[in-house]
Amino acid sequence: MHLYNLTLEHASSIPSAVVGNFSGNRQQEILISRGTRLQLLRPDPALGKLSTVLVHDVFGSIRSLAAFRLTGGTKDYAILGSDSGRIVILEYDAKQNTFVKLYQETYGKTGARRIVPGQMLATDPKGRSLMVSAMEKAKLVYVLNRDAAANLTISSPLEAHKPSAIIHHIVGVDVGFENPLYAALEVDYAEADNDPTGEAYTNTEKMLTFYELDLGLNHVVRKWSEPTDPRANLLVQVPGGQTTSGDPPVVRIDGPSGVLVCCEDHIIYRHMDQPQHRVPIPRRQNPLEDHSRGILIISAVMHRMKGAFFFLLQSEQGDLYKVTLEHHDEDVVALKIKYFDTVSPATNLCILKSGHLFIPSEFGNHHFYQFQKLGDDDKEAEYSSADYPGNGMRNPSQPLPAAYFRPRPLDNLVLLDELESLDPILAARVQNLPDASLFYTACGKGAKSTFRTLRHGLEVEENGNSDLPSIPNAVWTLKLTENDQYDSYIVLSFVNGTLVLSFGEEIEEIPNSGFLSSEPTLAAQQLGQDAILQVHPRGIRHVLSDKRVNEWRAPPGLTIVAATTNKRQVVVALSTAELVYFELDVEGQLNEYQDRKAMGSTVLALSVGEVPEGLQRFKYLAVGCEDQTVRIISLDPDSTLEMISLQAVTAPPSSISIADMLDSSIDKHRPTTFVNIGLQNGVLLRTVLDPTNGKLADTRTRFLGNRPVRLVRTLVHGSPGVLALSSRSWLNYTYQGLVHFTPLAYDRLDGASSVNADLCPDGFIGIAGNTLRIFQVPRLGNKLKQEILPLSYTPRKFVSHPQNSYFYLIESDHRTMSPSAIAERVKIMEMSNEKVDREMLELDPQTFGHIKAPAGVWASCIRIVDPVNSKTVAVYELDNNEAAFSVAVVPFSARSGELLLVVGTASNTQLAPRTCSSGYLRVYAFTEGGSALELLHKTETDDVPMSLLGFQGRLLAGIGKALRLYDIGKKKLLRKAENRQFATAVVTLNTQGSRILAGDLNQSIYYVTYKAPENRLLIFADDSSARWTTAAVMLDYNTVAASDKFGNVYVNRLDESVSKQVDDDPTGAGILHEKSVLMGAPHKTKMLCHFHVGDIITSIERVALVAGGREVLVYFGLHGTIGILVPLVSKDDVDFISTLEQHMRTENLSLVGRDHLSWRGYYTPVKATVDGDLCEYFAKLPAQKQIAIAGELDRSVGDVLKKLESLRVTASGF
């Protein structure tokens, strides 16, 4: 078995982000890491939107990002810390739109190891050096400089190691142009490790240490080290140094230098041998708050403005605090803190000079805000260190009195844009519909959780929708002159006439357009400089700017059946299968070519491309004939109307469109001319037209729908594209240099045209039935359209019902109080006459999150979701501190196959170690057609039920270490059989026949058989390697595909003979007495395939994504990855694609310098799986390399590209 891995949707989380002027012009950009991808975002200050400039896979895990700028430079460089054991400095090349690796310095082993640097990065604010640190001990300092040619240089590393020290955070200290200084938060464990009494452990101090890079001696020294708060977690740079400006020169101190030490509950200002300042972090004024829980700062940013600076710090609940330092030159007078606003908890805060704030959320959608004000003159309480004795440091070991604020809706920030993110996907399901597949995903964490329905297609924004008197069959938009910016006319063709509408404030009919209104229109075109043209069945009308009409009439008795136009050329086909060719001359006169060309077969479709810039005409004409041929005919003056080439097609063509589009896989510099041929059977052929000899080559086919294809040449975001209309509408466009073909998530269209108007720039106009639609496609990068339904708590699992269309979803949140628990607490408080601030309890959880509670407190509910309408049908909250962990729809044969919903819950659950006061199996009956539930009974269990499954008319439950079989009783579920031999906990269950595949939490998949005569559940096979199972699916009776917690996906198979032997044993006595192997089951499965995806797979399913296509494995990753594993069918395919992969590996595409083979074989060597994501980079390689690799494979470049596309399209339709 060989698999081909393809990512359909890449991870959408942003673990790190950094702001900088990477392209070197004045505009700031945001460089974000998507975990295993690097993406450059550019904010558009006018529109307030973020757009993607460049994305690149790194084939490694990015752990940290930083930016620096050499002194006096204008361009920022990016530094990548990763798991490659190398530090990489990248430059963004704006001209080529690529990342250029300037330096790649190896310093250690690969992998996210304890003492190999890469975890944290710090840079000197003046760009003279950088520090890269591990979690423990190792810190390396590199000196950055310029050589004589002003190129960046990097030194060999200098060590700043401290053995047996855990490093919490590092930051570069701003010291102006003195020797670069770094601050580190370190804890030394050496003493604690040698003291059995535990006293040294309690006395261990967290040290704030300053390391100085002596540029003169080229040496790093530990300059200063002092204990600080034991719960410190983050350091923030404070501006320092001085600037000289003006004439006469004035020396101004920029700031006091030093660092802010963010601790739990406090912020401390600290600098070498300077007095400290401490302020408390204000807490939410919440009556139910857990006082023992500290406030932790999770992200921070310092921002400089002209002559001033401030800090934004964010707590883990998402509250932003503005922190300011009052200082006289280098002496700090006071440290002040106040509440600013509340946004999603972020992994980084990115402030842009344009006054924007980018929030890459830890979970869920990422946000782009604009600062309205800086919270300078509001009534928010400000806490200053000057108000506390000894600047808050009188007694550093004691906390300061708690400070409070009232959270409120956004005041200082305004939301401008949102980047959709699926992170985290916790459960998912694929539904295969005839025209497209739907992905249902349960995403998110806590109150920001969502249930999302994803449909393959570009999102469409509708700008207008108006009814028409009858059903038109085609639409055009026209400019009046060549230089018009916007379109003025809409031409609608009906069966018996034509309607011309104006396009402006209001859409209304134009009576004197010069177009014939009593005939349908075949083509409409803005011609030459300022004329317009209409082709109708009886002739051609050339309307000049002064409304004079030059008319050409079709010969008597004949009609025009097809027409094609561009700015200077018109070709019409007559009902006698003759072609008539017209061309515009220099005087603006349309001249007929003296000869007509007989085609011999009725012409169905015609197309001529746009006139290339600076030329008189487009040289080729494509003609589609009824005899199932497409012919290319020359329009060159030397050989006018001579046939050049002919292509036979499988059905009569219905529409042809020639478009020049940029496809960098074919030609990186010039657009390629594509002949798109739509057939009457719904198939689209895309062929490349050789511009020099007119030959057709490299045909790709695609099935679009079950209606004849209609093609329209359009503009998509300013570049040429093609709109293909069948039973679905598809858009063919160039994005990031490559041609894409994506359906529109929109109603079926009968005709369309592109529109450029004031209210709808870069838009489209379409007809659907008797309505006229004006719409836009705002985001070309997003190929999945999302419909979002908000949830209350973190979703855990969901199941579908075999008979109705509802989903039954369980949600549970740890450290969250259920509404009933809150009500109870409030009642108790009110009984004891405490004042309860109701307003604070009613804050919207979606913005402010749920109220935090101690560990072991749970809120949970069961939700019925209507996925068709994206609506919640019913919600059942669980009380009694119960949390739901598993759910299944089970047909019980004891109740003659009645379907019941079983939910596995546990009360007072503790996570580590996993305990609960009692587990429960709740059995619900479906009422009101499944839109409501009725609790039948609850059965107690001794552990948490982590997995449930219907099995032979009974319930199979994984309850802690036990696998049990239950039957339904009147008041309880009745335990029928049990096996307690599982290692930790049964988390996944799959079944076929009497075989059960049970996934253990950390011991991979067990093969279990149920022997009915003896009523035994017997383990007969397991995996030889221990794996932390997260998801599993059976591929066939003996084979399972599963995934583990470290981002691997693998396929295991049981030997056929063992399988047979087990099935033939009627009682299972043989298995029972077999000798165990490797302290496990008597038989072992064999690993067939193995692959490291780089994201934790939470859900895996076997499904066909394309109607009539083969089944593939679809997986969903925690960080939002959606990918497929395609089984390769032929040996040729395997040979071809694995050789291609081998060649691609040698190209070293990884931006972090990770070896591809070692990345895909992170924990176990990659086996029998080809990385399609890497292979698809073939399209982006330089032409010479493409040719060389294709030569090695004995194919042409076009063949390789075609094969890659067909693998993607036939398996996924994407």
Partner: protein, 86 residues
């Protein structure tokens, strides 16, 4: 093996142990081994963004908090060392 050679081999090993924290040796105690294992695991969790997310979702905490608590735990993940017996 001459005593001199044994001496140099030993110093080399010591040097390697000092250089590569977490490397085991023949006399490693159970506690030392477990402590190394835990520290390796904890730093690996902090180093993999997917694992921190995974734990954060399970525990209902923020990623920032998980990272901090994991780093804190590295100080003494398996309790104090056992009393030395001669």
């Amino acid at each position: 093996m001459s005593s001199e050679l044994r001496y140099t081999a030993n110093t080399q090993l010591e040097h390697l142990h000092a250089r590569y924290t977490g490397t085991g040796h023949a006399d490693l105690t159970k506690w030392e081994w477990a402590t190394h294992q835990h520290r390796d695991t904890l730093s690996s969790i902090v180093g993999h963004p997917t694992l921190t997310s995974y734990l954060a979702v399970a525990d209902g905490e923020s990623i920032g908090r998980i990272r901090f608590e994991m780093a804190e735990k590295m100080l003494q993940p398996c309790g104090p060392p056992p009393q030395k017996q001669d």
